[in-house]
Amino acid sequence: MSTATGKDLREIRWHGRGGQGTVTAAKMLASAAIIRGKHGQAMPEFGLERSGTPVKVSTRISDHIINTRAPVDHPEIVIITDPSLMFTIKDIIKAGTDENTVFIVNTNFPPDKVRKILDIPDNELWIIDASKIALEEFGRNIPNTAMLGAVAKATGIVDLDALKQEITEAFEASSKLRALLPQNLKALERGYEEVYKAD
């Protein structure tokens, strides 16, 4: 059985804070890929499991079986769901990245400022104010569904319809979340529409 190596394997690392749905988003990304018949894996790195503490999650997607259980050390794509982390754990965010790493950042900062803070002058950079979308759509800073829309647009790693299906299934399965489904589907679409590639 062939295993996931080389170009076919997409490796993504998420940085967020507990309570913002980062782990859920990373899992939904893998699940959406699995809906499309791919192999997917999402592994949270659990720390203290406290709301507000930094969380790191690895997502892998491939057409082949994924064997490794190591966290993603050299991400092709880095997703930052909480902008304050750029100041507090910049070294952790940048570990294992190079000039080819794509960054997708939830922030209301202009791109130049993000480039400067992260010291990524030439990297591909996508900006999305996912927190604003989340606050406008459902009044809480849970930017994960808007981030997923942005990730779909920026990377093409999964299509928007697969994410819609995954989010619909996940929200409908939960009595707590069911009522928030339309707002989250809207946030997903807005994330897809409003993310932009920095110069």
């Binding site: 190596t5 899992k27 999402a42 949270p44 490794t68 190591a70």
Partner: protein
């Protein structure tokens, strides 16, 4: 063949799905991370009426196991789950379950033992159970956890021994992956109905009253243990039979061990649980460098597959055993001693080295396993020397 569908599940979700499909009679449980979430999922199935299981909330793991033993002795199909210190707390009753020949299933969502306190994965908890007379199976991922749980019911009831199904806490339990699920009917047909008379001496059969847990005086205790000893050796064939039967519905053929590129391998790494995937990737990378390396996964840990391991190592020059638990005994990790003993069953005499890795959830990378192979080769060739059989693979000194 069963109808199958591939869906995204965490290890705990996959385990809960297997439990739902089995639709067993009794679950006595006490919550402990990372098992809590699993039983949370299952409790939902119970609350929603999707299963007929009687769930008993007890005051601790010792009671959980005692309740399970009582239920299973009565004839109820019984599954419980725990982790880390919870396994330690139920330890006394584990011996009672195996000594009384109780068929029941314990899911061990592997967690380190305190102190220092850690809720994260290693195999220290399961290693407590290795001499308890329970059958023990390790799972590499959510898919295997799901399959192993379904098979374990049948293995346990055929063997009339209790069985532990291990899967790594957090690394498997809380990570999502694609899992192929069988249809409910096929799973239920496979495990069969849970009529009390499926086991030889159910307590609830009032026509044939029996005593469980009697005293044995010095003139008979040995005979009881000898029966247990002899029957435990029959477990190998029972496991193989159930693996074969399961292959017919799932299309997935399991063996007691899994070999990866061992055929022409000079150096072989051995591990259990979730690290085996990473070990396979390490083997691939070393093969790309022209190294003749391979890997073995121990699926059935108890009884230990002595013959299979000996056969798989019968041509190797060197073996590195990767233990996710320390024994603190001056010899080496538990798996190291098992493998070293199994080598008595082959004329080959490979150099064997032992590394401890992955304690308390420490993440393990391909590069670290590659380093383990490198150290093995240097030791075997006499380029380097060692003070002890066992070393720590990942440590800040």
């Amino acid at each position: 063949m069963a109808q199958t569908k591939v869906i995204a599940l965490t290890g705990n979700q996959a385990a809960a799905e297997a439990m739902r499909q089995i639709n067993f009679d009794v679950a006595a449980v006490y919550p402990i991370s990372p098992q809590t979430e699993l039983m949370g999922f299952f409790a939902e199935y119970v609350a929603n009426g999707e299963v007929d299981t009687e769930m008993v909330a007890v005051d601790g793991e010792h009671s959980a196991m005692a309740t399970c033993i009582g239920a299973a002795a009565a004839g109820a199909r019984t599954i419980t789950a725990s982790a880390g210190p919870g396994i330690a707390y139920m330890l006394e009753n584990l011996y009672i379950a195996s000594g009384m020949r109780i068929p029941l299933v314990l899911l061990d969502v592997n967690r380190a033992l305190s102190a220092p306190l850690s809720i994260h994965c290693d195999h220290g908890d399961s290693m407590l159970t290795r001499d308890t007379g329970w059958i023990s199976i390790f799972s590499e991922n959510a898919q295997e956890a799901y399959h192993n749980i379904i098979m374990s019911v049948k293995i346990s009831e055929k063997a009339m021994f209790p069985i532990i199904v291990n899967y790594d806490g957090y690394i498997v339990s809380h990570s999502i992956e694609d899992v192929e699920i069988l249809d409910d009917e096929s799973v239920r047909d496979f495990v069969g109905p849970s009529d009390i008379n499926r086991i030889p001496y159910p307590l609830l059969n009032t026509e044939k009253p029996v005593t469980y847990g009697a005293t044995a005086q010095p003139d008979y205790y040995t005979e009881c243990k000898y029966q247990q000893h002899v029957d435990f050796l029959k477990v190998y064939d029972i496991v193989r039979e159930v693996f074969d039967e399961f292959a017919q519905i799932s299309g997935k053929r399991y063996d007691l061990i899994e070999e990866y590129k061992t055929e022409d391998a000079e150096y072989i790494g051995i591990s259990m649980g979730s690290s085996f995937g990473t070990l396979k990737d390490a083997v691939d990378r070393l093969r790309d460098q022209g190294k003749k390396v391979g890997a073995i996964k121990i699926r059935l840990y108890r009884p230990f597959p002595v013959k299979e391991v000996a056969q798989a190592l019968s041509r190797a020059k060197g073996v590195v055993v990767l233990d996710r638990a320390d024994s603190f005994d001056g010899i080496g990790g538990p798996l190291f001693k098992d493998v070293s003993t199994a080598l008595l069953a082959t004329d080959n005499n490979p150099f064997v080295h032992n590394f401890i890795y992955g304690l308390g959830g420490r993440e393990i990378h391909e590069e670290e396993f590659m380093r383990a192979f490198d150290r093995l080769e240097r030791l075997e060739k006499g380029i380097e020397t060692r003070e002890n059989f066992v070393e720590y693979l990942q440590v800040r000194e």
